[in-house]
C-alpha cells in the first residue's frame, strides 16, 4: 500500500514567488577588484574595511569551490552574477518607514511581514534586507533606550566602527572557506546587533531577506554580539521571486557570546526552491558560526529549511568558555528536486561544555536530504557532553535521506551519544488515525507535525506559527 503520491507533493506552488517592480541600482555582472572598490565606495566604508574585502577577494581567487557536499548542480559562473543591487534611493534613503518606497512595503505585506503593524502591535523589531541593502529597521528608539544596537551593518560600520572592527571576521575569518571568502569580499548589507553588558533585549529582533532583482546574488553579513550577561533572540526569514535561473545566496552569520550571555538564533528559510523539473531556485550556501567565548555562555540555533534548490549550511558552535552550551534544532524539508546538505558542528573546547543536536529531515518527491554533522571533543574538555538525534522521514520512493555524522573524541571523561533513524510514516500510525475518522491528509500532517515537534517547540511563537503553516502548505496534496 503506497498512500503517498510524491507527484502531488511536488506540485504545490511557491507562494512568495512574485517580482516587485522597483527601480533598482544594479552593478553590471562580474567580479574584480574594481567591483569591490565600487561597493566599498558606495557604502562610504573606511579604508580598513576595503583592505579587508580585498584581502578576502585575493584569498578567494586562490581557493577552489568545495564539492564534498552530497549535492549536484551545474558549475556556477561567478562572473555572470551582479554583486550589487539596491532599490534606487530617493535622496538619502529612508529614515523611517514613512519614507520607504510603498511598493517595497507592499512586497513585505504580501510576504506576511507587515512592518507597520509589527511596529505597532507585535513588538518585534524588524530589519528588512531587500536584494543587497537594508531598507527599513523598525523600533529603533525603543531599542536605543535599552542600549541595544540593531541596525544595518553598513550603518554600523559608519556609526560604531570600533565594535565592528573588533568582531567582524573574528568567528568566520576571511579565508575560512570558499563561500565565506566570497561573502567577505562582496557583502553589501545585513544586520548588526550589539547587546551591552547585562541587558536583556526587550523584544525579539527580526530580519527579512528578499532577493528581488534577477541575475543578482545576495551576500549579506550578520554580526551579533552579546556582551557579558546579555540575552537576545533573533529571527531571520527569507524569500525570493520565481525565476528560471539559479541565484546564489552566500551569507555569513557570526555570533559572539561573552560570559553568561545567551543568543537564540531562529531561521525560517523559504527561498524559491525551483520548479518540479528542478529549473531555477536559490543556491543557499551559507556559513553560520557562533563563538561561545565566555564562561556559561549559550547559543541556540533553530532552523526550519523548506526553500532553496540547494542548501549547504552548517550552523556551528565553538564552545570555548567553560560550561558553555550549544544547541541545534533543525527541520529540513526537501521536495521536488530540492537538495539539502545541512547539519551542524559542535566543537567542545571548554570544560563541562554541553551540546544538543536534534535534526529532523523530511524528504518527498525527488528531494535529497543529508545531515552532515561534526562533534569534536578536544583534549581537556573535561566532562563535555553531547547528545545527537537525527531522524529522517521519507515520503515517496524516489527521494533520499542520508546521514554523515563525524564524531571525534580526545577526552576520556566526555560522553558523546549519536542516534539516527530513517523510515517512512508508519502504516500502523496512519491506520490508527484513519480508524478514528481522521482523513488521510490530516493524518499525515499530524504525524509530520509530531515528528517535527521537538524543533518547533524551540521556535519563538511568531515563527512557530509560520513554520507550522509552511509545513502544511508544503505537504499539501502529499496524500491521495
Amino acid at each position: 500500500m503506497n498512500t503517498l503520491k510524491p507527484e502531488d507533493a511536488a506540485r504545490q506552488e511557491y507562494r512568495a514567488g512574485f517580482v516587485t517592480d522597483i527601480e533598482s541600482d544594479t552593478l553590471p555582472p562580474g567580479l574584480n577588484e574594481e567591483v569591490i572598490r565600487h561597493i566599498s565606495a558606495r557604502k562610504e566604508e573606511p579604508d580598513w574595511l576595503l583592505e579587508w574585502r580585498l584581502s578576502a577577494y585575493r584569498h578567494w581567487l586562490k581557493m577552489r569551490e568545495p564539492h564534498w557536499a552530497h549535492v549536484e548542480y551545474p558549475p556556477i559562473d561567478y562572473q555572470a552574477i551582479s554583486y550589487y543591487s539596491a532599490p534606487k534611493a530617493k535622496g538619502d534613503g529612508p529614515k523611517s518607514l514613512d519614507e520607504v518606497d510603498p511598493k517595497l512595503l507592499e512586497t513585505y505585506e504580501k510576504l506576511g511581514i507587515p512592518l507597520r503593524e509589527q511596529e505597532m502591535l507585535a513588538g518585534v523589531a524588524v530589519d528588512a534586507v531587500f536584494d543587497s541593502v537594508s531598507v527599513a529597521t523598525t523600533f529603533r528608539e525603543k531599542l536605543a533606550e535599552a542600549g541595544v544596537i540593531f541596525c544595518p551593518i553598513s550603518e554600523a560600520v559608519r556609526e560604531y566602527p570600533e565594535l565592528v572592527r573588533q568582531y567582524l571576521g573574528s568567528v568566520v575569518p576571511v579565508q575560512d572557506n570558499f563561500f565565506a571568502a566570497l561573502n567577505s569580499a562582496v557583502f553589501t548589507d545585513g544586520s548588526f546587533v550589539y547587546v551591552p553588558k547585562g541587558v536583556r533585549c526587550p523584544m525579539e529582533l527580526s530580519t527579512y531577506f528578499r532577493i528581488n532583482a534577477s541575475n543578482t546574488g545576495q551576500f549579506e553579513r550578520t554580526l551579533i554580539v552579546a556582551d557579558a550577561g546579555a540575552y537576545v533572540s533573533y529571527l531571520e526569514g527569507c524569500t525570493a521571486p520565481m525565476r528560471d535561473e539559479n541565484q546564489l545566496h552566500a551569507a555569513v552569520v557570526e555570533l559572539i557570546a561573552l560570559d553568561d550571555a545567551e543568543i537564540k538564533y531562529s531561521t525560517v528559510q523559504n527561498w524559491y526552491p525551483g520548479d518540479e523539473r528542478g529549473v531555477g531556485g536559490i543556491y543557499n550556501f551559507v556559513t553560520k558560526r557562533a563563538d561561545c567565548r565566555g564562561a556559561r555562555s549559550k547559543v541556540s540555533w533553530t532552523q526550519v529549511e523548506t526553500g532553496s534548490a540547494i542548501t549547504w549550511k552548517y550552523p556551528s558552535c565553538i564552545l570555548r568558555g567553560d560550561d558553555a552550551v550549544g544547541e541545534f534544532y533543525s527541520v529540513a524539508l526537501t521536495k521536488m528536486r530540492q537538495q539539502a546538505d545541512t547539519g551542524t558542528k559542535m566543537v567542545h573546547l571548554g570544560k563541562r561544555t554541553r551540546s544538543t543536536i536534534v535534526s529532523k529531515g523530511i524528504a518527498a518527491g525527488m528531494g535529497q536530504q543529508s545531515y552532515r554533522g561534526l562533534v569534536r571533543i578536544a583534549r581537556g574538555a573535561e566532562g563535555a557532553r553531547n547528545y545527537t538525534q537525527c531522524d529522517s522521514l521519507l515520503l515517496g520512493d524516489k527521494c533520499g535521506a542520508h546521514t554523515f555524522p563525524y564524531i571525534e573524541v580526545k577526552e576520556p571523561t566526555a560522553i558523546v551519544e549519536h542516534e539516527a533513524t530513517t523510515s517512512r510514516i508508519g502504516e500502523d500510525q496512519l491506520f490508527y488515525c484513519r480508524a478514528r475518522g481522521i482523513p488521510e491528509e490530516d493524518a499525515v500532517n499530524l504525524i509530520v507535525n509530531g515528528f517535527c515537534k521537538d524543533v518547533f517547540n524551540e521556535l519563538p511563537m511568531e515563527f512557530a506559527v509560520e513554520a507550522n503553516r509552511l509545513m502544511e502548505v508544503s505537504l499539501e496534496g502529499a496524500v491521495g
Binding site: 503517498l4 564534498w68 571533543i377 583534549r379 529522517s392 521519507l394 515520503l395 515517496g396 520512493d397 524516489k398 527521494c399 533520499g400 535521506a401 542520508h402 546521514t403 554523515f404 555524522p405 563525524y406 564524531i407 571525534e408 573524541v409 580526545k410 577526552e411 576520556p412 571523561t413 566526555a414 560522553i415 558523546v416 551519544e417 549519536h418 542516534e419 539516527a420 533513524t421 530513517t422 523510515s423 517512512r424
Partner: protein, 420 residues
C-alpha cells in the same frame, strides 16, 4: 606478454595512478600510512623465506582444517573433504587460462572502498587460496588459515566461492615476528551462492612494528547469510575494509568487530554494506577499548538502493576511552534512496558507568577489579558471537592480555567459570 603479465601490469598501473591513500581522501581522513608503508612498496617478498622455521602454532585445541602462509606464500595445508576444491593462487596462475586469471587478478576501481593498495595487492600477490565449495556442501570443521609474517611485505589474495546452500567457517589469523617491521596487505573475496552461509573471523594480532592492511569483499546472492567478526588487537597500524553487497533478495549479513588498543597503536575499520535488493537485513556492532595514546577510527556506511524495499538495517558503534591521551573518530553513515526501509544507527563514546562500578564495589570488588570486569564485559559482547567456542575463548584470552592488570580478572573469571 602473457595474459597474466598483462593483468599484473594493469594492476601496477592502477596503483601508480592512485598511490598509497592519503588523508585528503575522505575515507583516509584520519589514517595516514604513507610514511610507514613506503619502505615496503617495492619490497618483493623473498621466496626463500617460505619455510616454517619459527612459525607458531596457536589454537592447538581447535579441530579444524589448517592452512599456513608465510610472507604471503602457501607453505602447508590439510586436505579438505569432498566437495571442496582448494587450489593455491600460485598454482592456478601458473596454469590458468585467460578467463580465470582475469577473474582472479582484475582490479575494479569502482568497487566500494577501493584504494590504491587493493591494486597493489593484485599486482604483487604471489599466492593465496582459491576455494570452491560445491552446492549443498556443508564443511563441518572450520578452515583455519594462519598468516605468519616473518619479514618484509606480504600480499595474500584469497578467493572463496560458496555454491548454493553451501556452508563454511573461515578463520584468518594474522601473526608476525615481534622483531621485524613489515607490511601485510591482504584481500579476501567471498562469493555466496543462493542460501549459502559463511562465517568469517579475522583475528589480527600482528607484531608491534607491523602495518596491517586487510580487505574483505563479500557478494551475497539470494537468501545467503554472512557473519563476520573482525578483531584488531595487534600491529602498529591497522586498517581493515569490509565491503558487503547484498545483491539479491533476502540476503542478510552481520558485521561485528572489536578493536582493543594500547600504546601508540592505530586501528581503522571502514565497513560498507550495500543493500541492492529487497528484504535485506543487516546488523552491525563494533566496539572499541582504547588505552595509552591509541587512536581508533570507525566508519560504517550503509547504502540502501532505490529498489531495496523492506530493508532492515541497524548499526552500533560504542567506544570506551581509558586514557586521556587516547582518541576515537567515528562516523556511522546512512545513504538511503528508498522510503520503505527501517534503518537506525548509533554511536557512543564514553567511560564506564558509575552505577555499574558502584554495584560491583558494593559487592566487595576493588575499584580496579570492577573496572577490569566491566571493560571486559563491554568487549565481550562482541566476542560472544564468535564460533566455534575454542576461537572465542582464544580471542577472549588474547583480548584480556591487553587490558592493564588483567591477571586478577582472568583468575576471577576462571573461578567463576569453574564454579559454573
Amino acid at each position: 606478454m602473457s595474459a597474466i603479465d598483462r593483468l599484473r601490469a594493469q594492476a601496477e598501473a592502477v596503483f601508480a595512478r592512485h598511490g598509497v591513500p592519503a588523508p585528503r581522501l575522505e575515507h583516509w581522513k584520519y589514517t595516514d600510512i604513507r610514511r610507514v608503508v613506503a619502505p615496503f612498496i617495492d619490497h618483493a617478498s623473498p621466496a626463500a623465506s617460505a619455510e616454517q622455521g619459527g612459525v607458531p602454532n596457536p589454537l592447538r585445541d581447535l579441530d579444524a582444517y589448517r592452512v599456513t602462509f608465510v610472507d604471503g606464500r602457501l607453505v602447508d595445508g590439510d586436505t579438505l573433504p569432498d566437495g571442496v576444491r582448494v587450489r593455491s593462487l600460485a598454482a592456478v596462475l601458473a596454469e590458468a587460462r585467460g578467463e580465470e586469471a582475469s577473474r582472479l587478478l582484475a582490479v575494479d576501481e569502482r568497487a566500494p572502498l577501493f584504494n590504491g593498495l587493493v591494486a597493489l595487492n593484485a599486482a604483487r600477490a604471489c599466492d593465496g587460496l582459491v576455494i570452491d565449495v560445491a552446492d549443498g556442501v556443508c564443511v563441518q570443521k572450520p578452515l583455519y588459515v594462519l598468516h605468519w609474517g616473518a619479514v618484509g611485505a606480504a600480499h595474500p589474495r584469497h578467493w572463496i566461492r560458496l555454491g548454493r546452500h553451501a556452508e563454511l567457517t573461515l578463520i584468518e589469523h594474522y601473526l608476525s615476528d615481534q622483531e621485524q617491521a613489515g607490511l601485510t596487505n591482504g584481500v579476501t573475496r567471498l562469493e555466496l551462492g543462493a542460501g549459502a552461509h559463511a562465517r568469517h573471523v579475522r583475528l589480527q594480532q600482528e607484531a608491534r612494528r607491523r602495518v596491517h592492511i586487510g580487505r574483505l569483499e563479500a557478494r551475497q546472492a539470494r537468501a545467503s547469510s554472512l557473519v563476520s567478526h573482525s578483531i584488531a588487537l595487534g600491529g602498529a597500524w591497522s586498517r581493515v575494509d569490509i565491503a558487503c553487497t547484498l545483491a539479491d533478495e533476502a540476503a542478510r549479513c552481520r558485521l561485528d568487530g572489536l578493536y582493543l588498543l594500547a600504546g601508540r597503536q592505530h586501528a581503522d575499520h571502514h565497513t560498507e554494506i550495500e543493500h541492492g535488493a529487497p528484504f535485506g537485513v543487516s546488523r552491525e556492532m563494533y566496539r572499541g577499548v582504547l588505552d595509552g595514546r591509541a587512536r581508533a577510527v570507525f566508519n560504517g556506511r550503509i547504502v540502501v538502493r532505490e529498489g531495496a524495499v523492506k530493508t532492515d538495517s541497524a548499526q552500533r558503534n560504542a567506544n570506551l576511552l581509558l586514557s586521556d591521551r587516547a582518541e576515537v573518530d567515528t562516523k556511522p553513515e546512512l545513504e538511503i534512496y528508498n522510503d520503505d526501509v527501517q534503518c537506525a544507527h548509533g554511536a557512543t563514546v564514553g567511560q564506564l558507568d558509575a552505577q555499574q562500578l558502584f554495584y560491583l564495589r558494593a559487592r566487595g570488588l576493588s575499584e580496579e577489579q570492577a573496572r577490569q570486569l566491566l571493560t571486559f564485559a563491554f568487549a565481550d559482547e562482541v566476542l560472544a558471537g564468535i564460533k566455534p567456542p575454542e576461537v572465542r575463548r582464544y580471542v577472549e584470552r588474547a583480548a584480556f592480555g591487553k587490558l592493564p592488570q588483567a591477571g586478577d580478572i582472568a583468575s576471577m573469571l576462571q573461578q567463576a567459570g569453574g564454579a559454573a
